[in-house]
């Protein structure tokens, strides 16, 4: 599998150091209290807009969410334009076991030794908005190690790499939409959005639905994390109930004796008719 020391000549993702974890020329001076106040204000504004329009608070985070500073120059200012999905957009690429080997779902067996940290099992089902299982579709994950460090070359956090942990896994969902991963509980890590900014422990997940319009990349969190209230990425989701849907549940029936703790996390890829809202001011011109 992936080697921890491999070169990444073609991969430059995460390059722009000034805006994330590394600040050229010093530490950020922006305080958590300022960010927290901005989060509260932005939540209030989004709720007011929704209520004035007679709509529910959106499930997804607004792309314009200034407390997460990197959004500033990266969100469109025009309303999205409504489109009927074409046939191609109502199907997804066909993935299968020719694409993904069974052992790619276990991130603890990719090297010669055992990774450090708390071994966990994460399992659940991927459903569409009508509750139908999303079958034979690709689930990809990536995460930091138990110390909060990514293998990614641009990760400058002075925490140790683990030679026995890369942090990348893939699975194909079963006929019931189910997936199951074995990994290590990732650590929290600092970033440079503001002074003393820490991301709650999370696993990045990528999903394909039965339609490409259901494509989703998100992050799964762990119950009871004290950093939730402080994190502008988690808090970019305004609806508290929607936020909580990103938090896995500890499930003792998933835990395996003398082996690993179990978490259950179910995912719904698109709103059912009941939750579908008319977009505000859709640019229909």
């Amino acid at each position: 599998m992936t080697d921890i020391d491999r070169d990444e000549p073609e991969i430059h993702a995460g390059l722009e150091p000034a805006a994330d974890r590394v600040v050229v020329g010093g530490q950020p001076t922006l305080e958590q209290a300022t960010i927290s106040a901005e989060i509260a204000e932005r939540h209030r504004a989004v709720r007011e807009d929704a209520s004035a329009a007679g709509r529910a608070v959106p499930v997804h985070p607004p792309r314009d969410f200034a407390p997460y500073r990197s959004t500033t120059l990266r969100h469109p200012t025009h309303e999205l334009v409504r489109a009927h999905p074409e046939e191609i957009e109502l199907v997804s690429p066909a993935f299968g076991h020719t694409d993904v080997a069974a052992e790619e779902g276990d991130l603890t067996i990719q090297h010669t030794g055992e990774p450090l940290g708390e071994r966990i099992i994460v399992t659940g089902r991927i459903l569409d908005g009508d509750g139908r299982p999303v079958r034979n579709q690709l689930v990809e994950i990536w995460q930091a190690n138990a110390a909060g460090r990514y293998v990614h070359k641009r990760d400058q956090h002075p925490a140790p790499l683990d030679p026995n942990f890369t942090g990348v896994g893939r699975v194909i969902t079963g006929d019931d939409g189910g997936y199951r991963l074995t990994t290590i509980k990732p650590g929290a890590y600092p970033w440079k959005n503001h002074r003393n900014a820490w991301r709650p422990a999370h696993i990045h997940f990528s999903f394909f639905g039965s339609a490409f319009t259901q494509r989703l990349i998100t992050q799964m969190y762990f119950p009871g994390d004290p950093l939730f209230a402080l994190d502008p990425i988690y808090q970019s989701i305004v609806d508290p109930a929607a936020r909580e849907r990103l938090v896995a549940r500890y499930d003792h029936d998933v835990s395996e004796p003398e082996w690993a703790l179990g978490y259950r996390w179910d995912v719904v890829l698109t709103g059912s008719r009941a939750t579908w809202m008319e977009p505000e001011d859709a640019d229909h011109a």
């Binding site: 073609e10 991969i11 993702a13 390059l15 722009e16 805006a19 959106p58 499930v59 997804h60 985070p61 792309r63 969410f65 997460y68 500073r69 990197s70 959004t71 120059l73 990266r74 969100h75 469109p76 200012t77 025009h78 334009v81 409504r82 489109a83 999905p85 074409e86 046939e87 191609i88 957009e89 690429p93 066909a94 993935f95 020719t98 569409d128 009508d130 139908r132 990809e140 990536w142 990514y150 990614h152 070359k153 890369t166 990348v168 990045h204 990528s206 989703l216 990349i217 998100t218 992050q219 990425i233 109930a241 929607a242 849907r245 990103l246 719904v268 698109t270 809202m277 977009p279 011109a285």
Partner: protein, 195 residues
């Protein structure tokens, strides 16, 4: 399990979160940009640059494309992750380089219907983007079909050009993506899908 709705609804949607800065060792994969093998007689380069609201290239975006075959039909063959070296799967993924540039090798899709223009669905993920963006790349050398396409007709004429991939000197197509500001790309909200 029967393919019918399960009775325990409602099924509330899982929200999006940013792809973050550290996907580079996870999402890109060997062969990701090679939707068609380079030796394919109809292979074309489909490429462009992702820009932010200051007009600067975005060096940490990941771009996916998904499109129909040359006859306009969806492709249902496996092998988008493990390329077999001769098939065309219609799906590709690549990270942009440090200049914000992405490039795929693929074939030009056909139109799905007589009154529609051929297009490539383009999906953009990036650090600082809390929820991915969908757009469509239509082709500059399809004037007649583009003029008949009902979606293109629904887009404000002053912004329609942002959906057109220009033919470049090498016989490929260039499709730049502007996330914000002057010439901001038209991004899509699919009907039936929550924002």
């Amino acid at each position: 399990m029967p393919d019918t709705p399960s009775p325990q609804g409602p099924f509330l949607q899982t929200p999006s979160q940013t792809v973050g800065p550290f996907f580079g060792y996870a999402l890109p994969y060997p062969g990701g940009p090679d939707v068609a093998p380079p030796w394919h007689p109809d292979a074309v380069r489909f490429h462009g640059t992702v820009y932010d609201g200051a007009g600067d290239p975005v060096p940490d975006a990941v771009v996916e494309i998904w499109h129909a075959d040359a006859a306009g039909r969806p492709i249902a063959v496996r092998g988008s992750l493990e390329r077999d070296g001769h098939g065309v799967t219609g799906f590709g993924r690549t990270a942009v380089d440090r200049d914000g540039h992405y490039a795929f090798t693929t074939i030009k899709p056909g139109a799905a219907r007589p009154d529609a223009a051929p297009h490539v669905l383009v999906t953009v993920f990036a650090r600082g983007l809390t929820h991915h963006l969908f757009t469509r790349a239509y082709f500059a050398d399809e004037d007649e079909r583009n003029a008949r396409d009902p979606f293109l007709a629904s887009v404000d004429a002053s912004r329609r050009g942002t959906l057109i991939a220009e033919a470049d000197a090498s016989g490929g197509y260039r499709f730049d993506i502007r996330l914000q500001g002057d010439g901001e790309t038209v991004f899509l909200q699919f009907e039936g899908v929550a924002r």
